[in-house]
């Protein structure tokens, strides 16, 4: 398309009528999945009386926490214009390395190294996550390797590392401190939900009201322009990559606490759901667009669909099919709700 002829007609609306209809739509683009969530709620209510109980909803919420933390991480990384596929391996390998370092070296089915006291398990897990992010960032930003392939390699490598260390088995003997956050409840609501909500709130506020948060949009939208405006593009991108892996490692802590063990395939194959949730939530794969709230609605949509289907008695063998279908349907909905092409 020719830039000059295309831009002209729109200019009139932007210049003289800023409060036009198109503008309002753009502002609410991130809410396009909210009606979908409401419809799902109504369907769930109609399908089963068990749907609208606090037990069921809190269960869905808790199940959504681990995935939603990965989505939070991926949303930040996508907004800054990058991709990280290795998040789904970080959620497994970071807890394994942490407990491997702290568990005693004899007497159990899984023997660790016993190097450090058991209270360091969570800090260790987070440190491993940060290290993974830092290495990815080094490869992508300093050596200028292709981010997609680097993190694809990291995905496989880290999965392999987890299998090698855990000898392909689930680890069931875990330090109490490590499982606390994922299993406890505060004020009748799982702690994981509180933490997750808090992290989304903090992230959303930072993106909306802090200069460094806005810098993510600037970098993802036009990194050359961001650089020209004085934003330290590489440093901020690196920090976001580290933060993303850190969040994935923390999701690993919650997941481990939730199920009481580290399974060998923890997080395996999640990255597809992570991307799907982020993108149907309105975050652009090309960077510079989207909000964390939108991403959150994306996760909730995916989780609620599965829940409603289960309650409706759809055999679980159909879950995967339905998950794929809902991704495509949600994409179509957000495409037309926002009126923007997704390229």
């Amino acid at each position: 398309m020719s830039p000059t002829t295309e831009v002209r007609p729109r200019a009139a609306t932007a210049g003289t009528a800023p409060a036009g209809r198109r503008f309002d739509l753009a502002r609410y683009r991130d809410l396009s999945l909210v009606p979908v969530l409401l419809v799902l709620g109504v369907i769930g209510f109609a399908v089963s009386p068990a749907f609208l109980t606090s037990d069921n909803l809190l269960g869905v919420g808790q199940q959504a926490t681990e995935l939603s933390l990965l989505v939070l991480a991926e949303a930040l990384i996508l907004i800054v214009g990058r991709m990280d596929l290795s998040l789904e391996s970080t959620i497994g390998v970071a807890p394994v390395i942490a407990v491997w370092l702290v568990l005693p070296d004899h007497g159990a089915r899984f023997n660790g190294l016993g190097l450090l006291p058991s209270w360091t398990a969570i800090p260790l897990c987070l440190a491993v996550g940060a290290l993974i992010g830092a290495i990815n960032g080094f490869l992508i930003l300093k050596l200028r390797l292709n981010g997609f392939i680097v993190t694809l390699g990291a995905l496989t490598l880290l999965r392999g590392l987890q299998v090698a260390i855990s000898q392909g088995q689930s680890i069931v003997t875990l330090p109490g401190s490590f499982t606390y956050l994922g299993s406890t409840s505060w004020l009748g609501v799982p702690a994981a939900i509180w933490i997750c909500a808090l992290l989304f709130l903090a992230g959303g506020c930072a993106l909306a009201w802090l200069r460094h948060g806005r810098a993510l949009y600037a970098i993802g939208g036009n990194s050359e322009a961001a650089r020209a405006a004085g934003i330290r593009v590489d440093r901020i991108t690196w920090i976001v990559l580290i933060l993303g892996s850190l969040l994935a490692a923390f999701a690993g802590v919650l997941y481990t606490g939730h199920y009481g063990s580290i399974s060998a395939d923890q997080g395996n194959g999640w990255i597809f759901q992570v991307f799907a949730a982020t993108v149907i939530g309105g975050v652009s794969l090309n960077g510079g667009r989207g909000t964390l709230f939108g991403a959150l609605t994306g996760v909730l949509t995916l989780q609620l669909v599965v829940n409603v289907m289960t309650l409706a008695g759809v055999p679980p063998l159909w879950n995967q099919f339905l998950n794929g279908a809902i991704i495509i349907v949600a994409l179509i909905i957000s495409r037309f709700a926002s009126g923007e092409k997704q390229e």
């Binding site: 002829t5 002209r8 932007a14 503008f23 506020c205 806005r214 600037a218 036009n222 510079g288």
Partner: protein, 518 residues
């Protein structure tokens, strides 16, 4: 000229600047000096060292030798972004606007709030943006998203942002390249009013007429060297082109000539009738005979580009027919247009024309892959032979057919695009702004190529708002707001045509066809 402080030194003074990149000398003992409130033009052909000078003047690169002073003071240390920005502002050729963000945020990018940890007050930010825009008289809503702005509005926003750092000296790197005549006029009005406020400009352009319109002084660079600095009034167009090319130019007499042609008779080669496309043009009819070059003039909103693209099959018109050599063409389909014998040179070679990382040969033969081997295969030897013929015919300066097309200069890239359009041996060549962003000499040879196409018994349609492009035409049809407003035979005056393109009163001495827009 308004000059607030004549005692001060020049806003910028560079002397003896040299810069090498490896074996390439980008600048050699170059100099420039811009007085406060002056509008200074910097011209030169591609590769003359203009871009390097800009990056040195804005602190993005360090010169190897030489001195650089702003207002008589030593230039700031490299990397001290704030200090540089308070002395020199730059509007780059490539837009530095972030499309998804609002105008207000773009204006105050990375300084939305006072401190890094202080939350941004969006209301206050909008207020500051409104003030800034009002200060420079930019009529743009601060809440509009930058991607919804027109090219010129974006440029105004960039200028306002650049000046908001306190600089009184601004570099404009080809600001008019993407603007239509009207946008350029508004840009120039803005620049003149800023100049009255004491802002000095360094204006870089390929378009020499603009230099005469806007600037008081001109500096010419050639082959990385300073050639001349002179008041614009003392340097006529021929002398300026001579300084740029280093050879005595043929002035206003190009290699091709239009005069003395007889209008061909017989059936037209291209016959467009009653074509309408909603929002672009209505009820458009045109005929072109063999041997004829027809110009389709019009400003950006006139619909002439859309019309050219429609003939090439990119848009499907609601009504009307296109006939080539007596055979109707199915509209809205590029393959049908190609098969009917319509060759197309798109408006923007970077977006629609070329695949930059692929070779010259591949780019030139993209439309004729079916002829390059049996059973759908593409034989490298035939591709090469075909491309070599094209390179010879059009005099494309390239290291060879296998060189990536991105390694070529702008003019030669454009020749590759034209080569591809001609590869199918079309009856009709539709060229949209064929000389967009190429230097003076390439311009002439590109237009000469189009002329030759017509002389070989085909017909060509040039869609452009550049008067230089239209001079090669046998006749020019002017469009305004989707309608034909006038038609000129060769020999029109600039004023007549510009007036018609701008929708002002039609000419009196040529045949007028439609004045219904009044």
């Amino acid at each position: 000229m308004a000059d607030p402080s004549p005692v001060r030194g020049p806003v910028v003074e560079a002397d003896g600047i040299s810069k090498r990149f490896g074996a390439t000398v980008a600048l050699s003992d170059a100099r420039i000096s811009v007085a406060p409130g002056e509008s200074h033009a910097l011209v030169g052909r591609n590769g003359a060292g203009k871009s390097t000078l800009v990056s040195i003047l804005t602190g993005l690169q360090n010169p190897d030798t030489g001195t650089l002073r702003f207002n008589g003071e030593q230039a700031p240390a490299p990397g001290d972004t704030d200090a540089w920005r308070s002395r020199v502002a730059c509007v780059y050729q490539r837009s530095t606007i972030i499309p998804a963000l609002t105008v207000a945020e773009n204006l105050f990018l990375d300084r939305q709030s006072k401190g890094v940890l202080r939350p941004i007050s969006w209301k206050q930010l909008r207020g500051r943006a409104t003030e800034l825009l009002a200060e420079y008289g930019v009529d743009v809503a601060p809440t509009a998203r930058a991607e919804d702005l027109s090219v010129e509005q974006r440029q105004f926003v960039e200028i306002a942002r650049a000046l908001s750092f306190g600089a009184r000296f601004i570099i404009l790197d080809e600001p008019t390249a993407k603007l239509d005549a009207r946008g350029i006029e508004r840009l120039f009005d803005k620049l003149r009013s800023l100049q009255e406020q004491g802002v000095a400009f360094l204006f870089i352009s390929h378009h020499l007429q603009e230099v005469y319109d806007l600037c008081t002084t001109v500096t010419v660079y050639r082959d990385a060297r300073h050639i001349i600095t002179a008041p614009v009034a003392e340097l006529d167009q021929q002398a300026l082109v001579e300084a740029m090319t280093g050879e005595s130019s043929r002035g206003s007499e190009p290699a091709w000539s239009v005069t003395g042609r007889t209008r061909p008779d017989g059936a037209p080669l291209l016959d467009v009738s009653g074509l309408s496309l909603a929002g672009a043009y209505q009820d458009f009819s045109l005929t072109a005979h063999a041997g004829e070059v027809v110009g389709l003039a019009g400003a950006a909103a006139s619909g002439n580009v859309r019309l050219g693209e429609t003939i090439a099959g990119l848009h499907r018109p609601q009504a009307g027919t296109i006939t080539v050599a007596g055979r109707p063409v199915r509209t809205g389909r590029v393959p049908a247009a190609l098969a009917a014998g319509i060759g197309f040179v798109p408006e923007d070679r970077h977006i629609q024309g070329l695949i930059p990382q692929r070779s010259v040969a591949e780019n030139a033969t993209l439309t004729v892959t079916g002829q390059l081997g049996p059973f759908g295969t593409v034989l490298p030897s035939r591709t090469r032979a075909f491309a070599e013929r094209m390179i010879g015919d059009l005099d494309i300066k390239t290291p060879g057919p296998s060189a990536p097309v991105s390694a070529l200069s702008g003019g030669n890239q454009q020749k590759v695009v034209i080569a591809r359009a001609l590869a199918t041996e079309p009856h009709v060549l539709v060229a949209i702004r064929p000389t967009n962003g190429v230097d003076v000499k390439s311009k002439e040879s590109l237009l000469g190529t189009v002329r030759e196409v017509a002389d070989a018994g085909k017909s060509a349609l040039i869609v452009s708002d550049e008067l230089d492009d239209l001079r090669v035409c046998d006749r020019v049809v002017a469009m305004f707001h989707g309608r034909v407003v006038a038609e000129f035979e060769h020999g029109w005056s600039d004023e007549q045509l510009v007036a018609a393109m701008e929708g002002m009163s039609g000419p009196t001495d040529t045949k007028e066809r439609d004045v219904s827009h009044h």
